[in-house]
């Protein structure tokens, strides 16, 4: 582990990579701050840039963007009550009331210290957990991978918001279906190309990520212009002090400890991610608070900002565990990173630790650097960065459209991709209006190829028998958890309907 850490430090601490982290944190903060644009968009916009640099620098840049976007989301949550990222919604509950009281600076400082602590503690956990899990997963075979991939795909749906389970499953399947477009890798047969030469190589992951996230989010932000933006001028003009008293730090410390542990473990679970972690941490702190403190929640409680901010950053680090060790992304954001890694020709998973240790370790080390950058460079500059919230939206939206389109074009140099992007943007807008989530789609799309490959190998190994599903205890165990993840939300849907019907009958009687 020590050798690995040294490799990581050597790579991450080079002047070029430090610059990439700083640049990533800035760009991430800027994009994350814009309401409606989240870390997936920020990372997707960075991918074309990372194609020109080496994989470890690319991953370092993307990790910086990820952290920056989460921090930027907190800033817009606190200053204008419009979270740029779902994971920072809970921050706005107490952050915005504090900003309204003229304590925006303090709220931002609390968010930054909490994010830094959560991110750093979780990176320490990652340092221990990732190599351990990686060495275990080296013994995995195709059937185990097939089971793991199924688990990853279903877990995202199982942890989706209430009542959206079936919709998430539909989106996962839609992503899997899109992954079958193009030439079949094993047989060389064309599938769903409809005679189009441009579709022979399939649909590029970057195209899907850009159109489903960046384009659709930018276009929908035109219709979703909310009145909240008007409040920005009040809170950004009167930020107040960034300093915290000793008592306030003492109040925050135990919350940080609890929330970082909770956040990390929630982040490790496939599909759970920063949003669930932040809400769980907020709920936990409110439940643990005394009756007097409970009243402060929702009105500007320090604990109310500390808990979700610590947890969401810890969850970000946690979500790297399944990505780096098993090659299975736990969230939409890490799914985009997985796609980028695969585009570099690197296969994430247990072999990453052995074959590309510089990528593995430099990502972990860059997390510390990223957290330091956010605390010491971004925080003091927040009053200035916040001014971007008042930039004309009409200019920003069109520029985002341009960078998304040209980003994809510069990879393929094929104008057909621009038409496809317009088409997918329309589909994404329609799906978003129908309350479908895009993360399961991108996850299904990226994992589709691997799922097919591993099922093909498993069936070939077992002469076409499906006994591979229960032959090895580990495969059986993973598949059992998968079935559990599928059945629990399904049963709850029908139970809920049954309950509602019976209660209606009672009330009718």
């Amino acid at each position: 582990m020590l050798d690995g850490l040294l490799i990581g430090f050597q790579t991450a601490m080079s002047m070029q990579n430090i610059m990439f982290v700083i640049f990533g944190c800035f760009v991430g903060t800027f994009i994350g701050m814009l309401p409606g644009l989240g870390p997936i968009t920020a990372i997707a916009l960075m991918i074309p840039i990372t194609y020109g640099i080496d994989p470890s620098s690319g991953m370092i840049l993307m990790a910086g963007v990820y952290y920056g976007a989460i921090f930027g989301g907190s800033t817009s949550s606190i200053l204008i009550n419009a979270p740029g990222v779902a994971g920072t919604v809970a921050t706005s509950f107490d952050g915005y009331p504090m900003a309204c009281k003229g304590q925006a600076g303090k709220a931002l400082a609390v968010a930054a210290y909490a994010s830094f602590s959560g991110g750093t503690i979780a990176a320490l956990f990652l340092l221990v957990a990732a190599p351990m899990l990686s060495s275990i997963s080296l013994s995995f075979q195709s059937p185990d991978y097939f089971a793991l991939l199924l688990l990853g795909l279903t877990a995202v749906a199982a942890f989706s918001s209430k009542g959206h389970f079936l919709k998430s499953i539909m989106m996962t399947l839609f992503g899997l279906m899109l992954s079958t477009v193009g030439t079949d890798q094993a047989s060389g047969v064309e599938r769903f190309t409809f005679g189009q030469i441009d579709l022979l190589d399939g649909i590029s992951f970057l195209l899907i990520a850009m159109s489903m996230f960046a384009l659709s989010e930018a276009l929908l932000s035109i219709v979703n212009t909310d009145k909240k933006k008007l409040d920005a001028t009040d809170t950004t003009s009167n930020m107040g002090s960034l300093k915290l008293s000793k008592e306030e730090v003492k109040e925050m410390a135990p919350v940080i400890g609890r929330s970082s542990v909770l956040g990390f473990f929630v982040g490790v679970l496939p599909g759970a991610g920063a949003t669930i972690a932040s809400f769980l941490a907020y709920g936990m702190e409110r439940n643990l608070a005394s009756a007097k403190e409970k009243l402060k929640f929702g009105k500007g409680s320090l604990k109310g900002i500390t808990a979700p901010e610590t947890a969401n950053n810890a969850a970000c680090s946690g979500s790297f565990v399944p990505l780096l060790t098993l090659g299975i992304p736990g969230s939409g954001t890490t799914a985009v990173m997985l796609g980028a890694l695969m585009a570099y020709g690197i296969q994430p998973g247990p072999r990453l630790f052995v074959d590309n240790p510089e990528v593995f370790w430099s990502v972990i080390v860059s997390m510390y650097v990223g957290n330091l950058v956010l605390l010491f460079i971004n925080l003091p500059l927040i009053p200035y960065i916040a001014k971007t919230l008042s930039l004309p939206k009409q200019l920003l939206t069109v520029l985002i459209l341009f960078f998304s389109l040209i980003g994809v074009y510069l990879v393929s140099f094929n104008a057909f991709d621009i038409f496809m992007m317009a088409g997918f943007a329309v589909i994404a807008i329609a799906l978003r209006l129908l309350n479908f989530s895009m993360s399961p789609l991108i996850l299904g799309f990226i994992l589709g190829g691997m799922l097919e490959q591993n099922l093909r190998r498993s069936l070939t190994l077992y002469d076409g028998s499906i006994s591979f599903m229960w032959d090895r205890p580990i495969t059986l165990a993973i598949l059992s958890v998968t079935v559990l993840f599928l059945m629990v939300p399904l049963l709850s849907i029908f139970k809920k309907d049954k309950k509602e019907n019976s209660s209606d009958q009672v009330s009718d009687a």
């Binding site: 020109g52 079936l166 919709k167 499953i169 539909m170 399947l173 839609f174 899997l176 279906m177 079958t180 079949d184 047989s187 060389g188 047969v189 064309e190 599938r191 769903f192 384009l215 276009l219 929908l220 035109i222 219709v223 212009t225 939206k393 009409q394 200019l395 939206t397 069109v398 520029l399 459209l401 341009f402 389109l405 040209i406 074009y409 510069l410 140099f413 104008a415 621009i418 038409f419 317009a422 943007a425 799906l431 209006l433 129908l434 309350n435 589709g448 799922l451 097919e452 099922l455 093909r456 069936l459 070939t460 002469d463 076409g464 399904l490 029908f494 309907d497 509602e500 019907n501 209660s503």
Partner: protein, 166 residues
């Protein structure tokens, strides 16, 4: 019976899955592949069956929900949201920007990167209501020139000069 977002989504997905399933059966085999355990049709067929099953389940689930009063209220709210969303002014701008993207795709290789991108940006700003000529100029021409210079002169990436100009 009111049509909720859930039902519309499930029905559209059902139709899509049936079409996908139909085309999955049209995928050709290479000679002898039909005797193999796993063919290029296997996964598409599996996905189609699963997708049809899930969308039917989603329709049934929302139909069952129709019988409860609470869900009927939810549905009314949902349809209200649909109407509210569709009534917003910005939709014309969104449609125009999508048309603009198609224009960009069409003209990029004909007019070349610089001309088509400048026109894309200027028309885009105009669609979104920007009328300040100074701002229109500053947010388009220098942006495109700097981007072009970085790409072609610094990074050595070729950007199309346009078929029209030879």
């Amino acid at each position: 019976m009111k049509i909720s977002k859930d039902k519309i989504g499930a029905l559209i997905f059902f139709i899509f899955s049936v079409c996908y399933g139909y085309y999955a059966y049209q995928i050709p085999f290479y000679p002898g592949e039909e005797y193999e355990v796993f063919t290029s049709q296997t996964m598409p067929k599996l996905y189609a069956f699963l997708a049809i099953g899930v969308s039917v389940l989603a329709v049934i689930s929302s139909l069952i929900s129709d019988f409860s009063n609470r869900n009927q209220e939810k549905e009314i709210n949902n349809t209200d949201v649909v109407n509210e969303t569709f009534n917003r002014k910005g939709w014309m701008q969104v449609v125009s920007l999508i048309a603009l993207m198609i224009y960009y795709g069409t003209t990029l290789e004909i007019l070349g990167f610089i001309t088509s991108t400048i026109s894309f940006l200027v028309i885009g700003y105009l669609i979104l209501g920007e009328r300040n000529i100074k701002r229109l100029f500053l947010a388009s021409v220098p942006v495109v020139i700097v981007f072009w210079a970085i790409m072609t002169q610094l990074l050595g990436i070729y950007l199309t000069t346009g078929d029209l100009w030879g």
